[in-house]
């Protein structure tokens, strides 16, 4: 009788210990995952903000690019010293049925 009660008490203690360890482990795992989630969410938010800022900066630069691009006119080029070529010479590339390295021979 006494032996049976002792055995049950030992089993209960074992279960209690096992469940306690499980609880602590789960709590640690939970804490770990929450921490990792927080780190990643923060990192993602930071990356998102950086991306947003970069995109905005790129948009500003593109705006400047368009302004400069449309500012390049023939009048501006002439003012900067551009002169149209007077005697344009064209080079004719021969069409032959020979080997490819001969194509420019003519």
């Amino acid at each position: 009788m006494m032996s049976s009660a002792l055995q049950q008490n030992t089993k209960t203690k074992q279960w209690f210990f096992l469940l306690s360890v499980l609880c602590v482990t789960l709590a640690c795992v939970y804490g770990y995952f929450i921490q990792m989630t927080i780190i990643r969410v923060v990192a993602r938010e930071k990356a998102g903000s950086a991306l947003s800022a970069l995109r905005s900066e790129t948009a500003n630069l593109e705006n400047e690019y368009f302004a400069l691009d449309t500012g390049v006119t023939i009048d501006r080029a002439r003012a900067l010293g551009f002169v149209e070529a007077q005697n344009v010479a064209y080079v004719e590339r021969g069409v032959t049925s020979g080997l490819s390295f001969n194509q420019n021979a003519r």
Binding site: T37, I38, V41, E45, G48, S52, A53, R55, S56, T58, A59, N60, E62, N63, Y65, F66, D69, T70, V88, Y90
Partner: protein, 570 residues
Amino acid sequence: MRDNNTHSRIRLISSAIILVALILIVRAYYIQIVEGDIFLSKADHQYTSPTQEIFDRGTIFFNTKSGTLVSGATLRSGFTVAINPKLVVDPESLYKVIGKKLSLDHDAFIAKATKQNDPYEEIAKHADESVVNTLSALKLKGLSFYKDQWRYYPSGSLASQTLGFLAFQGDTLAPRYGLERSYDDTLKRNDKTVYVNFFAEVFSNLKKTIVDNQSLEGDIVTTIEPTVQAFAEKKIAEIHEQWHSKKVGIVIMNPQNGEIYALAATPTFNPNNFRDEKNVGVFSNPMVEDVYEMGSIIKPLTMAAGLDAKVVTAETTYNDTGSIELDGKKISNYDGKARGIIPMQEVLNQSLNLGVSFVVTQLGKERFANYMRNYGLGERTGIDLPNESIGLIKNLTSKRDVEYATASFGQGIALTPLSTARALSSLGNGGTLVTPHLVKQIRYKLGVTKNIDYPLGRQVIATSTSAEITRMLVTVVDKALLNGKIKMPHYSIAAKTGTAQIAKEGGGGYDASRFLHSFFGYFPASDPKFLVFMYQLEPQNVQYASQTLGEPFSDIAKFLISYYQVPPDR
């Protein structure tokens, strides 16, 4: 003894649980009720996070000739600045601090800051981050900053009618006009960025993982070449200003595959400030939405039909009497003068109405109508823009000869400028219909890139016919058009002008003083890389298209040849 021990343990644990619960409840009471306002105020200062979803949308790229992508429509970020009038003690002193930095109107600010029952009033939108950082450091009571993102068009008014814009439809931003509308399924974003809370974030991410709604999200790459687009817009703006016309439009496309390098019309607008535009008519794209009687640039289509059916050749002659009568209606050349017996080449050189009506009589009404339908004049081109109109070619089902005769020189049938350009492309590309298009690639968020294929359409004229009509149109440029002024010695250019009469409002014939000028040309004619089509509606104090559009076309052709370094073809 054992029972007592157990009971005391249970009591101890219960007491501990109740104690912890009580501590939590008391703490929660203090945080929520007693110190709630303080924490709320602190949070207001601490976070510059959005209280509502942040706008997000895909980018529309222009594509330079070297393949570099430049945004035509993108996003810009900044801050919305708001005040809580309940917390603003002295509006005047607050205005002194922030008014200049945020460019605020004094009276409007004071009116908002003195609304004592209102906890939220926006005072500035699209504020720069540097300004917000400066103001945030001052820790001014009642001032809040919220992250904001909005649609931005870096190129301003460039290609505005092609890009379209976003505007509020009720409470939601909806795409209006242009590519914004036709590619909304790709450009819109379904994932919303809401107030940042770690646990809410965990579950929102979980939802994203389970429900994949991003598969269709991406950016689009257009065929628009920004420098060519800018040059084309500059040219039509000059035409618009010089001739005080109601509208001027242009398309520059590759006649071989339908890629559009530039598509523009004046008057135009800046999509960043579309709210300032008083005339909402400028938002639509007349190149695809308006239909016009195009006039003489239809003659090459008629001539090509005659050549293709082998009822005429360039050398075929007819007796030009200056005018004829069909079904009781008089049809004349533009000057009413007779030319006598002349060949078909002269019909194009001198743009003779009687010459192309002769081609129709040789072809027969049915065959002519079939050719015109086959050119796609009565159908949509399939361009990836919304609201495309269909050409009005009902006259080609008439029983009267006169309707076919007038259609042969572009009167009595109304077409969109783009469908006209597509039909004219077939003259230079070997005889096939292409699909004019603006988007060549979709870059999905998932990392996949999809090239959009636009297969060649039906063969409308034989390749040999295409070569022959091209040769005839090159002769027009070399010998007739502006007396050969726009001829280029080393480049063959095929082109034709059109001066169309405009129907009187309310019907009853044509107005003698209102014209539609049009011009098309493709080059190098032996293997065309570019087709340029221009039109202008009601230019003032000038009659013929060659006078208004000849030189601008020449300038554009020279620019394209130089910019793309097109080798000479003769």
